[in-house]
């Protein structure tokens, strides 16, 4: 039963390729992704420009690679921030209970009740669109769901007999939290962080598509798609490749997430 599921292999493969592209994109690209070259305007995919060029003659492949690096970086930072903050809040509320818990959770649930991207939109409206604004906005927007999952896990782990056993040994609450509860939160957190990486990447792309993300000329998949709309009749490839990148990445993450969930947290299967 130790062999990996096919969806894990496929998902891992896709994410692996993305990771390599992102790493590459940060260090080296075939062409300068920002260099304007009107002579090579709107070139279709060919031997020189593998995936064609855009309205300013910039190489699409290079821009996609740079964008991958940007997206992965933003998503990683955001997920890290949300998971850290959410874990602290979730552990605290799950541990303290009583009124502190109730007020913190009421606040948390109210934030959760803002549908997904809306909270980020509101925050961006105030902070203005740039890379760190996005990280902060999305990080804040996704912290409540982490807090909820961690709190739920802590509450259910508190009912486990091994936590009772630790208390019967005379271990302090803090020790029990650190030794028995926190390590057992890691599995559900891994599952959540994986899915969240996908949500954040999608949200970042959507914000960029709306013009509220990383500002041009820096490429992101979202803003590349947005600017492709004006040239869609002349240059279909501009509208195809960035979307394909987003979709494949999300597919990879979804497949990997499913596999992880099946392995680590059978209760959450298939959702």
């Amino acid at each position: 039963m130790r062999f990996a599921a096919p969806n894990a292999i496929l998902g891992g493969l896709i994410i692996g390729v993305l990771g390599v592209c992102a790493l590459f994109g940060a260090l080296w690209t075939p062409f300068d992704p920002l260099k304007i070259n009107f002579a090579a305007r709107l070139q279709p995919p060919g031997p020189v420009y593998w995936l064609g060029t855009d309205e300013f003659g910039r190489d699409v492949l290079s821009r996609l690679m740079t964008a991958a690096a940007t997206s992965v970086w933003i998503s990683l930072l955001t997920v890290t921030a949300a998971v850290s903050a959410g874990t602290v809040i979730g552990m605290l509320t799950g541990y303290l209970r009583g009124w502190t818990d109730r007020i913190l959770m009421a606040f948390n649930d109210a934030l959760l009740a803002f549908p997904g991207i809306l909270l980020a939109l509101g925050l961006l409206a105030v902070m203005g669109a740039n890379k760190y604004g996005i990280i902060l906005a999305l990080g804040l927007a996704y912290t409540p769901s982490v807090a909820r999952v961690v709190r739920g896990t802590v509450l259910s782990l508190r009912e486990k007999e091994y936590v009772d056993a630790s208390r019967v040994m005379g271990n302090s609450e803090a020790y029990t939290m650190a030794r028995h509860i926190l390590p057992n939160c890691i599995a559900p957190l891994t599952v959540l962080a994986t899915s969240m990486f996908g949500w954040v990447l999608l949200a970042e792309s959507a914000l960029s598509f709306l013009g509220l993300g990383v500002p041009p000329p820096a490429p992101t998949w979202g803003n590349m798609l947005a600017s492709s709309r004006s040239f869609i009749t002349q240059a279909v490839w501009l509208g195809i490749f960035p979307g394909l990148c987003i979709s494949l990445t999300l597919l990879g993450i979804n497949l990997l997430g499913d596999a992880l969930r099946d392995k680590l947290d059978p209760r959450m299967r298939g959702v």
Partner: protein, 554 residues
């Protein structure tokens, strides 16, 4: 005279479709009309799969690899699906183990009962309703009309199992397959439901195939018993013969695993109790919301008890009796609302001066071996953790102590580096016992320590526990719903009901001359065992001649 068989299973084999692993191997047996036959086996014996395949209801992950099933002369494997469905329900009925999940939670009881009748019988709605009401009355439902318009969650487990029985017996099948029909119920309720089942089937001449892990329960009601182990039938015969002269070693092992009374132990009676509980009151706080406050519920109404050094005191009662709450309060996992716990003559309470000493000397073994061990720690780490707060003990000493106790519980150093998920349930429970004993506590609370285990494993762990108790000489509060186990291990017995102690006394007095009606009810559910020659046993049912009382106690 040749028997005319109702059901004839011949050479049945089932495999797991993916791995081709054989889970039921070449199984043959038969059931005559009106006969009650039991299939007994431990988990993994294939008994449930074999029974379900009679109606072609085995899970989709398994595949039939061979054999035939003939029912009333017809080979069920050859029947087209439509013909098979016509038999299901109308000729063969089935009762399931889990009363919480065997009725559809979102469908009215009335509709669920009506469904089978409407499908198989040519009756109009009025006639069906009359039949249903009559049947509900017979299974002891007090307000049948109201029950029709109710959902399953409005009934207790025992009542649901009665409704389940009603639903199946409405169609008067020729064969009833009952898969662990009462395992999920309290001992007292269990007996009532079984008596009802036997009464109903006898009245209609229905044959019963009863699947269970509980040999003594099956022995009480069946004419014949089939013993299964690891997918095979190892022995079958009349109930009498099988119990008195078991031929197969596995049957002998099963019989030997049945708990039995050991000679009374000699404990010096004059010494001071080591643990004393006085007028303990525990209340569960009601849930508090933003808008309302629910009133609390009192779980213990002033309970007092005393345990002497080296003594094993059993705490018995049904679910909701407060026995687990009492154990948890004594262990310091719950804060009592009133009363006092004394250890070694001094009052202890969380935060008090003597609490540290009590904490070192009072340990606990929990019920569920799957939840009581932190899955992310190795066995050695788990056991060693218990020594973390023991003062003045060096690392080397701790390692030696862990190794020693792992040997004591029969695991040895080979298990030290393994993780809980690599261990069987019995092995895990040994680890839990090692963890509780590694500190050499003076007092151990064992909360249903063997009730999650298979019968043969249960017997081994129980023997181990008794042996360790003898050697280490700790006092023990042994919480259990299973009076058989209690009869084997306890020196003294305390019976609880609804948060109060109803009876208390030494083991032989409680088991031989119980006074309280509730104790009598509990005892009537288990047999008294007398060992016969060559590994056989004789079962005697207490109070069988006594009036049964109200049927509808569920």
């Amino acid at each position: 005279m040749a028997r005319t068989e109702l059901l004839q299973v011949e050479g049945l084999s089932l495999v797991v479709a993916r791995t081709e692993l054989e889970v039921v191997k070449n199984v043959s047996f038969s059931v005559a009309p009106g006969e009650i036959v039991g299939i007994v086996g431990e988990s993994g014996s294939g008994k449930t799969l074999a029974a379900r395949s009679i109606m072609a209801l085995e899970p989709p992950a398994t595949r039939r690899a061979g054999g035939s099933i003939r029912f009333e002369g017809k080979d069920l494997a050859q029947l087209p699906p439509r013909e098979l469905r016509r038999l299901r329900g109308s000729r063969i009925g089935m009762v399931f183990q889990e009363p919480m999940t065997s009725l559809n939670p979102s469908m009215l009881i009335g509709r669920q009962l009506d469904e089978g009748l409407a499908l198989h019988r040519d009756l109009d709605a009025k006639e069906r309703r009359a039949l249903i009401l009559d049947m509900l009355r017979r299974v002891g439902i007090k307000d049948p009309e109201g029950a029709l318009e109710a959902y399953p969650h409005q009934f207790s487990g025992g009542m649901r199992q009665r409704i389940m029985l009603a639903s199946v017996m409405l169609l008067q099948p020729a064969l009833l397959v009952a898969d662990e029909p009462t395992t999920a119920l309290d001992a007292v309720v269990q007996r009532d439901v079984l008596e009802l089942m036997v009464e109903l089937t006898r009245a209609r001449g229905t044959a019963v195939l009863m699947i269970s892990h509980d040999l003594s329960m099956v022995a009480r009601y069946t004419d014949r018993i089939i013993v299964m182990c690891k997918g095979e039938i190892v022995e079958q015969g009349t109930t009498q013969d099988l119990l008195r002269q078991p031929r197969h070693p596995y049957t002998q092992k099963l019989l030997a695993a049945m708990p039995r009374r050991l000679p009374k132990r000699d404990l010096s009676t004059s010494v001071q109790p080591i643990v004393e509980v006085r007028d303990l009151v525990v209340e569960y706080r009601g849930r508090q919301g933003f808008f309302r406050k629910e009133s609390g519920k009192r779980a213990l109404h002033g309970v007092s008890l005393a345990i002497k050094p080296r003594e094993v005191v059993a705490l018995v009662g049904g679910s909701g009796s407060g026995k687990t709450t009492l154990g948890r309060a004594i262990a310091g996992l719950l804060d009592p609302a009133g009363g006092e716990i004394r250890f070694g003559g001094r009052s202890v309470r969380r935060g008090s001066e003597d609490w540290g000493n009590y904490r070192l000397n009072c340990q606990m073994v929990f019920q569920d071996p799957y939840s009581s061990l932190d899955p992310r720690m190795t066995i050695a780490d788990l056991v060693r953790e218990a020594l973390r707060l023991v003062p003045e003990m060096g690392h080397r000493e701790k390692v030696e102590r862990v190794s020693e106790i792992l040997h004591d519980v029969g695991l040895g150093d080979a298990f030290a580096g393994r993780y809980p998920h690599e261990l069987s349930g019995g092995q895990r429970q040994r680890v839990a016992i090692a963890r509780a004993l590694v500190r050499r506590p003076a007092f151990v609370i064992a909360d249903e320590p063997v009730s999650a285990l298979d019968v043969t494993v249960r017997a081994q762990v129980l023997d181990l526990f008794a042996d360790l108790q003898q050697r280490h000489g700790f006092s023990c509060l042994f919480i259990s719903h299973d009076l058989g186990v209690v009869e084997q291990i306890a020196d003294r017995v305390i019976v609880m009901q609804d948060g109060r102690i109803v009876e208390e006394g030494d083991r032989d007095t409680i088991f031989d001359q119980p006074q309280d009606p509730y104790t009598i009810k509990l005892l009537s559910a288990i047999p008294a065992l007398e060992a016969a020659a060559n590994g056989g046993v004789r079962l005697r049912w207490r109070f069988d001649d006594m009036p049964q009382g109200d049927v509808a106690t569920a």
